[in-house]
Each structure stands twice: as C-alpha cells, then as structure tokens.
Subunit: 399 residues, 2 copies
Amino acid sequence: MKIVAVDPFYLKMPDITTDADGTQDTLAVRVRTDEGIEGWGECDASPLVSLATYCCPMSHGNIINIRQSLIGEVLGGSDDILRLHKKVLRNALDIQQIDHAYSGTDIALWDIVGQKLKRPVYQLLEDQFRFLSDGIGYPKIPYASVLFGDTPETTFQIATRLKIQGFKAAKFGWGPMGKFDEQYDIELVESAREGMGKSAQIMIDAGVVWGSDYKTVYDRAKAFSQFSPTWLEEPLAPEAIEAYGTLSALNPPVPIAAGEGSATFRMAEDLILHGRIDYVQIDVGRVSGITTAARIRQLAEQQEVQYVNHTFKSHLSLAASLHVFATNEDFNLLEYPADGSELSQRLTTEKLEVGSDGQVRLTDQPGIGVKVDLNTVREFLAPVKIEINGTPIFDQSVL
Amino acid sequence: MKIVAVDPFYLKMPDITTDADGTQDTLAVRVRTDEGIEGWGECDASPLVSLATYCCPMSHGNIINIRQSLIGEVLGGSDDILRLHKKVLRNALDIQQIDHAYSGTDIALWDIVGQKLKRPVYQLLEDQFRFLSDGIGYPKIPYASVLFGDTPETTFQIATRLKIQGFKAAKFGWGPMGKFDEQYDIELVESAREGMGKSAQIMIDAGVVWGSDYKTVYDRAKAFSQFSPTWLEEPLAPEAIEAYGTLSALNPPVPIAAGEGSATFRMAEDLILHGRIDYVQIDVGRVSGITTAARIRQLAEQQEVQYVNHTFKSHLSLAASLHVFATNEDFNLLEYPADGSELSQRLTTEKLEVGSDGQVRLTDQPGIGVKVDLNTVREFLAPVKIEINGTPIFDQSVL
C-alpha cells in the first residue's frame, strides 16, 4: 500500500470569538492510499499555520514539507507509521510548527493501518509499544470540560446542569479564575462543588494564570483542598518547569496537572521529570499524533504519573486520544468535551456516547473507529489558496 | 510613536537544494511606525510557515496573529518591546510557530527603539537587563562556519582556504560526519586541524547525528580530543536532554555545545540545567528574537556556561546576534557565516567586517546598525498571496 494524497482541510464556524473555546475551527487531515483506504485525523492548532507546513517550499535539508516527505511512501503496518513519523520530523527539524501540523496525519495513518489490518488502533499500539497491560480496552469516566461562568452563581448553574446531564466528573476552567482575588477564586470552586454535588469529581483549570508564581499556587491549592478537587490544572505558565518543580517540593494538598501545551515528547518528559506533576495531559492533536502520545504514556507508566487526554475538539480527536491509553485500567479519566460548536458536534457521523454505566468505551471497529461526516466538511470548509511568485502551491483539493 | 505596519518578506534564491545551507532563503520583517522610523529583522525559519503566523485568522483567544497583536501599539522604549513580546506570545499561546516567526519582528523593534533613542541596541539591553558588565561592546573572534567536505581531502582544502583568508577559528559541520565509521570521523577532524594549523581554534558540528547514543558521543569526544577542538556541537538530538545530562556526567574530554534549536527560553534553560552543556548556542532568528536571547545570556552568566550565537543567515542576523552578548568580554567567540548565498551576502548594505586584529566589533550606530539593501529585497522577493474562502488575507505589500 502506498500513500497517494495528504490533504488538510480548514474548517471553521462563521463567527470566531476570543473565547477559550477550541472548537470554533479545526484542521482535519485526510490521507489516501492506492488501495482506496483513507484515514482522517484532526489537529488542535492554528489551521492556516499548520496547513502551510503541508506545502511550504523547501528551504534546505531541514525544512521539507509534510506532503513531500510522505507522498509515494509505503504504508503496510505500524512499523511504517513509526518510520514515517521519524522521517517527517527529521525532514522538518527546523519547522517549529511541525508537531502541531503532523498530528492530524499521524492519526490518519493509524486509522488507515487499523482498517487495513482490521484491528482497532489500541490493539496495534499494544503490539507496537508493549505497554505491559492485558490488552483490554477499559472504559473511562468522562469528565465534562467546561469554562467557569463569569460569576460563582453562573458557575453553580453550569455545574447543576452537568449534574442533571449525568456527569459524575467535570472540569471548570479559565474565565474569571485568578483574575480577581483569593476569595473570588474560592467561591468559584465552591460553586462548582455545590452544583456537582459531594460525590462527583471536580477539576480546576487555572489556565496558566499565575505565571511562575508558585507561592500563590500553593496558597490556592491549600484553600481549594476543602472542596477536594481531583486536580488543579495549569496553575503556572507552560515554560515554568522549574517553578512546577519547586511547587511540587512544597507538597501542595491538591494534585497538580499540566501538559496540554506539550508539542514534543521532551516537553512532556520535562514536566514529568523536572516539574514533578501528578497528572500529565496530552493532546494527540498537538504532540505529533498518537505515536508520540503513546511514548508519553509509556513514560507516565514508568514514572507513576497519571496519563489523561486533553481534548477540546471533535469526537475524532476524542477517539484518537482514547486509543492511546485505553488499555491502562488505572488511567481511568477521559476529558470529554461537553460543550462545543456545531462544527465539532457534527464532524463525525457517530460519537463516543456515555454508556448506561456512566462510562465511555471504544468499540472494536478497525482503525480509529469514528468516521468523518463529509457533509459537515463541505459545509464548514474554508478553502485555502496560496500562491508564491504567481505559482499556486496550495489550492484546496475538492472532496 | 505607534506601530503602523508589520510586513514579512519571503526572499529566496532561484534554486534551493537539500544542502544544510540556511542562506538559500530567508524571511525578512520590516516594522514601520507613524514617525517614519522603520526597523528590520530576519527569521531563521521556514519563510511561508512563519509568514502564515503574521496573518492567520483568529481561532480563539490563544490563536491571534502577530499583526493583530501589534498594529496600533505604542512603542517608545525597551519596556514597550518587553511588554509587546509578552503580549504577542500570550495571544499566540497555541501557535507553535510563534517563536520562530516573531524573531524577525522583535529584532526590528529593537532596531526602531535604538534609532529613536539614538543608541545601539547593546546599550539598551545593558540598561534593560542589568547584566553586571561594564557596558563596553567587546570585539569577538569570528569563527567561520562551514560544512565538512565530502572527504577528508576536500575538508583539508576547505580548512586551508579559511586559514589563507585569515580565520583564526573555524567550525566544520554536518556532511559525512557520523555517517560512516569512527576512523572516517577522526580523519575528517584531523584534516580540519591540519588545514587550519596548530594555533587555530576548530569546532566540530556533528549535526544531531548520534540521536540519543551518548556512549558513541563519549567515544568520539575521546578520539577527537587529540586534535583539541574547542567544542563538539550537537552530537545528540535536540530532544535528548537526559542523554546530554548523562554524557556530561561522564566528563567527556571535549566541551559540549548545543542550543541552536532552542525556540523558547525553556528549551535553552533545559539544556543548561539538565543537559549540563558547556556552550549554549542561541539563534536570535528562532528564539523569538533579541528579548529572549538576552534572558538566556543572563542565565548563562549565572550558570557559568559560555553563550555564543548561532547564525547562518545574513549580517542583519549576525549584528542582531552580537548585540545580545557584546558586553560580556568572556563570551569571546562569534559564529561568522563565511560561505553563503548571494542573497545573504547582499541583504545588507554593509557588513560586520573582520578587523585588522582579526576580530569583529559593533559600531556605535543607533539600533542594529546594519541596513537592509532594498534592491536585494526587490530582486529576491517571492511575493506571497493567501486567500481563504476567496478573501485575500495576505497579499505581499510592495516595498
């Protein structure tokens, strides 16, 4: 089987706001082979900047675009996916965007190989990475991922709604958290807890608001601990690894989570080894796909850190995320986008529904197991055309 | 003074090869103000992918392009440059390419403020960063930066030519190094030493060839030490920080240099604190400009690591690089592109020439102190046009 086409599609809602809502647009990637099998993936990244990484002219041996590295390549099994991952990243050593941009393609390649071999991706990963698990795809507890309301009152209403929807876990993030004073922050967390009820899990996402100020984070962790959050997420800037390490040495009474900004294996490794975080949150749409995410899962297992997905896109991304850690029974939480644009809700023809036991599980369908709705792609497509020196180097291929 | 225009220009040679020669194309950035002062900078990065970062549509509050963050902003002094640096990077938190792309703009902003205040950039940096130096701009020993020849014989010829040209130091890199066997590697280094002569400094750039194999690197360092290289550069992959740390703990008999791939402060900090390298090599065209490079210089001073520039572009980049560490007398080496395309040779109207004492020094001209030749820009310009949904979002502005 050979790769014959690699096509990125920029999809967007008609109106985009500054809200911290990652579902307002997306970059979907389709890979086609000469045997007629095609796979899809999705990037959580700037669509245009990522798309440029598929077609940018060569600058020298370390700046070669994704298409040029892949078209014509042999794709037979998961060994080929790892070989191509290495080739693409090596050819693009000096393209900073490469990890964000390649994520969608790597996911699509796993989708294709799974279809070809008639096996779900999590089983292929099990064989390839030898995770020392029993190979069973375990169900996960979905946690709704929502923004804080602007006030404690609206946060309470949001939490109550999630409880009524049946969520046993929910993460509240960004918005007013850290923007006013400690008392306001505490009231926000208290409202989330009261709305969700005593038995639910709640998580707090501070949205990098305290920069490198680990002392304030420690104080907030102490203040929030009375509401028993499962974790406090991204209290510090992504770069503040030494501050994360110092915070960890203080033994804050709430576990610390971070990692969604990881674009490379090293960024996650750095957070785990030197930031000493408790939960590592990996976005397969940013970290150059399933291949690197699986390596980070291995590291998390070795270092006794909890692996959890970061997902704020469609159920294509959600399913791709879940394959990475489905076979580890202890990694039992799944970020589950509860709100989201029409685009993200309709990008796939089916969803990973919450089961009657309140949990989410993969099917044993081959590949990623979730199909893209081409009508949605057509409806939300923002066709891109790029010319250099009057010559088209990208002209949106039709579906 | 307000920023009124931020324009990236994609410049390229007619033919681009896979050679490890970063001067075959470039992205130059011009920033204009309402007082008529304009500044220029240069990125060492994929021109098209970086250009997209200037005009990509907003995706949400963490994906906002460079132009949108800057146009209309106040620019009066170096405090403003630091404020804008923070703003741009925060607005582009989820654009991986931001550091590469913003580098040229940050350099241009220092150029403008220097012109406005009639002071060279190194003096502005001295005031802003309080480096604890005496404020004098010291001369540096330029080292020619060239590729190994394909054989020991051609390497000897290259080294001999550099010696005749008057270089007292030269770095040889990439090409066959590490591609055959140990004996061949040794002969390459031996030829470089013989061509340059006993009293010259030679550096070896292994071009990330040994991945994470620190044992081979240690063996090579032992074998190369008889030729007294000043350093062995990038023997390991940029991500292999733990392997760098393990290598360092073995005390290799040749100092280790790395860092050109650093796109962020943390990447350099990680190499310094956990990779325990001896020389940190920073490219102002990749690390979001002079602002971050100056912070890395500070860290290098604190950690007693040697700071040195990485430059494989025009003398605009070279001058920008030199301003960062001119006032530290001990940081006395300067990577000095000896070969380079016609584009890079002619991008500036003047060069940082090697003085009669064999050293290179900045002038006290305001700003970066090197002017862009607009005729060269016109001659090598590859105009870019980007349309989304039929609407132009970038259409190369005329000079």
